[in-house]
């Protein structure tokens, strides 16, 4: 060290944990408090969420599990097939579904729906699918073809024509490119999309939000502004007390 610049041997070391000036000491204490609140509020809460969560299946998954063994072993009744199709449509209606996953499930839905159609009606039903496949959105016949296929499919899969399942199924029938059902793929897709990490924190509703969502998306931001505000007010007061005038 160049001692020539420090003839009085004054301690000019600055360390956050060993502050040597009154302002640095004040800052350390304030920062430690605010930092702790900040860290616990952000990371502590997410860790808590992680600790208390349990994999929770959707109703569609529970229904699917009831019939899956029969479907896999080709012993499924028509009712089993209808349950499976409805569960699969619960996945296919999700906007986050991966296109590859969608194709696997659409093929399964296609296969089982066609199995539900009586032989005498099969050709007519298949031509309805083809007609809809060959029409484009905005064409004069598009809506009629879609509605016709929807109503016909609804009857076979056992749902009311005015349900989401009935409205979704025409699009899955035209998406399918085969009538294969890949059991391994179906099992992993159904688990991937229908089992979620839930707990009492995610189930509790606050101001319309699932609580954890409100906490992270709304409350934490309020807290951040509040912490900054507190810091500025506390620093202003400390500056006055310490008699420090900033330029």
């Amino acid at each position: 060290m160049e001692n020539n610049d420090n003839p009085e041997e004054k301690d000019y070391n600055i360390s956050f944990f060993k502050p040597t000036t009154p302002l640095a000491r004040f800052n350390r204490n304030l920062i430690l408090v605010l930092f702790t609140v900040w860290a616990v509020a952000i990371f502590g809460f997410q860790i808590l969420l992680r600790i208390v969560e349990t994999p929770t299946p959707e109703k569609a998954y529970i229904n699917y599990e009831l019939v899956w063994d029969n479907i896999k072993s080709d012993k499924a009744s028509d009712a089993d097939k209808q349950v499976f199709i409805k569960s699969a449509l619960s996945v296919l209606g999700k906007i986050t579904i991966d296109p590859n996953d969608r194709l696997f499930l659409s093929n399964s839905v296609n296969k089982l729906t066609l199995e539900l159609v009586p032989e005498t009606e099969k050709n007519a039903f298949v031509s309805k699918i083809d007609d809809f496949k060959n029409s484009d959105f905005g064409e004069p016949d598009y809506q009629n073809l879609k509605n016709g296929l929807s109503v016909a499919s609804a009857e076979y899969i056992g749902v009311n024509p005015n349900t989401l399942e009935a409205k979704l199924i025409p699009f899955e029938l035209v998406t399918a490119n085969s009538t294969n059902l890949d059991p391994k793929a179906v099992e992993s897709i159904m688990a991937k999309y229908l089992i979620h990490n839930q707990s009492f924190i995610t189930d509790y509703i606050f101001l319309g939000f699932p609580f954890h969502y409100f906490y992270t998306a709304v409350f934490l931001l309020i807290l951040f502004v509040g912490l900054c505000l507190y810091y500025c007010i506390a620093t202003d007061i400390a500056m006055k007390k310490l008699g420090i005038v900033e330029d």
């Binding site: 160049e2 001692n3 610049d5 420090n6 000019y12 070391n13 600055i14 956050f16 502050p19 000036t21 640095a24 800052n27 304030l30 920062i31 900040w38 952000i42 990371f43 997410q46 992680r50 969560e53 959707e58 569609a60 619960s90 209606g93 999700k94 906007i95 986050t96 296109p99 959105f137 005015n162 349900t163 989401l164 979704l168 699009f171 999309y193 089992i195 979620h196 995610t202 509703i205 606050f206 101001l207 319309g208 939000f209 699932p210 969502y213 409100f214 992270t216 998306a217 709304v218 931001l221 309020i222 951040f224 502004v225 912490l227 900054c228 810091y231 500025c232 620093t235 202003d236 330029d247």
Partner: protein, 554 residues
Amino acid sequence: MKKAFLLLAILSPTLIFAATSTQLEGGFKLGPAIILLTILVLFILVGIVFRAKDTNDFFAAGRKISKVGSGMAIASNWMSAASFLGMAALMYGTGYHGLSYVIGWTGGYVLLLILMAGQIRKYGKYTAADFIGDRFYSKPLRIAGAVVAILISIAYCVGQFGGIGLLFKWILGIEYGIAVVIGGSVVLTYTLISGMLGVTKNMQIQYVIIIISFLIPLFLLTYKFDYFWLLPQIGYGSVVSDIVKGIPVSDVNNLVNSFGNDFAITPSPEYAMPWDPSSGQTFFQFMAISFSLMVGTAGLPHVIQRFYVVPKVRDARWSVVWGLFFICILYWSAPVYSALGTILSAHPEVGKLSKDAIVVYTAQLGNINPLVVGLLAAGGVSAAFSTVSGLLVAGASAFSHDLYVKVINPSCSPAKQLMMARLATVLMAIIVSLIALLKLALIGQLVAVAFSLAGCTIFPLFLLGIWWSGSNRTGATWGLIVGSAISLLAIIYFVAGKFDVILPAHYFINYWLGAWYFAWIGAPLAILTNIIVSNFTEETPIEIKKFLVEQVHS
């Protein structure tokens, strides 16, 4: 008042032309184009009126900006395409996981304030490299700091140019590549004309445009779809719960999207549940992204640089509070677009949408007046512009001030320095445009790369430089080397992956050192290295210690 009147007067003729934009994508949209053009002309006029007259103006706006004004400029500078478009896109694609970006990009301001803002202003340097070179009494470190600042600015700008390209493409109905070039040229032109002073004035106007354009559609959408519209930022809680539970067709009350599809959705808990398997994102990634974005926020040169433009140290602190509050208004609102967009686009007829444009698509799918949708898109362009201009100035400052004047040509005239700053701005804009054309990732993710880079390099130097006088040149150098090495490794693996090149331990590195969150380990390692090496090497010169005690901590 004067500004508001000017804005209204300029915008009013566009009412006639605006009602032409009805498609989600496709052709030229006259109304939005005129709104955009009007706003850009306004920016350039403001830039000319308040243009930089000398280097002091160019770099630090002559230190004439008030704390509220500076807060607005911080917010505008911050509210980029990543905030305006990218956040909703991330939540639309990955649900709760997207909130890691929301808290990462806001929580970092707490760190910035309590650890750095006032101290940086007290230190009294113009740029991040200035601080690094001076505090660590090292010319090579100054150069390294300048180079890192330029790289961060470039990485950050890439996402912004992507957003500009997307919106110009939507408005003008042209190819993405051409849109990037046109948009990039416009933002470059006005940054060159105005410099920081014009930019700072522009940022205040931009903030108003950004926030108004972002909020109006939210009120309309929540009102239209029968949610609590007086405060959409709270009212959308019921939207989230509806997504989780599902909305049956029987409950839609004739509400439809612009395709005529029912406002219905199958139960989708994956939208709100934490680290859902279907999102492909894990608990670790949520935590790593949040942390990386926070330390990155406190290390971004163009954010740090904003504290130099306030007249007093107290203003530097308060400008963070104002800035964060202004930022949060947008951040409380962005998830609303994502939630409503999820329901409105749930029907297969809507098809796969470009996530980065979900904000605009949501307004369109909600059948909002095309004039309002056009204003929203123009607001998105403003958001990208405000950030790009700040970034280009920060990068240009690093080149002309920290590299050219301080290292290459110390005796150069102020006019020459200004010329070099402008040359650097042009070069950066060209490089950024070329990278943006590659479309490497979502806007928000591209911007997150810049944050991790800042978190691994600049943040440790500022943190230790301010708070520990024991941190010396050698420690800082080794800390920077470690931080840079980790950054380089993560970015190489990310880019290689994008070009289908599989490097050794590809999956391991891409997961644990993901391009948008490698600072989770890079920042702590850089800090640790700096501390260890500093403890075993020479002491910091007494004049630096004295300066820290007497100027920064007293």
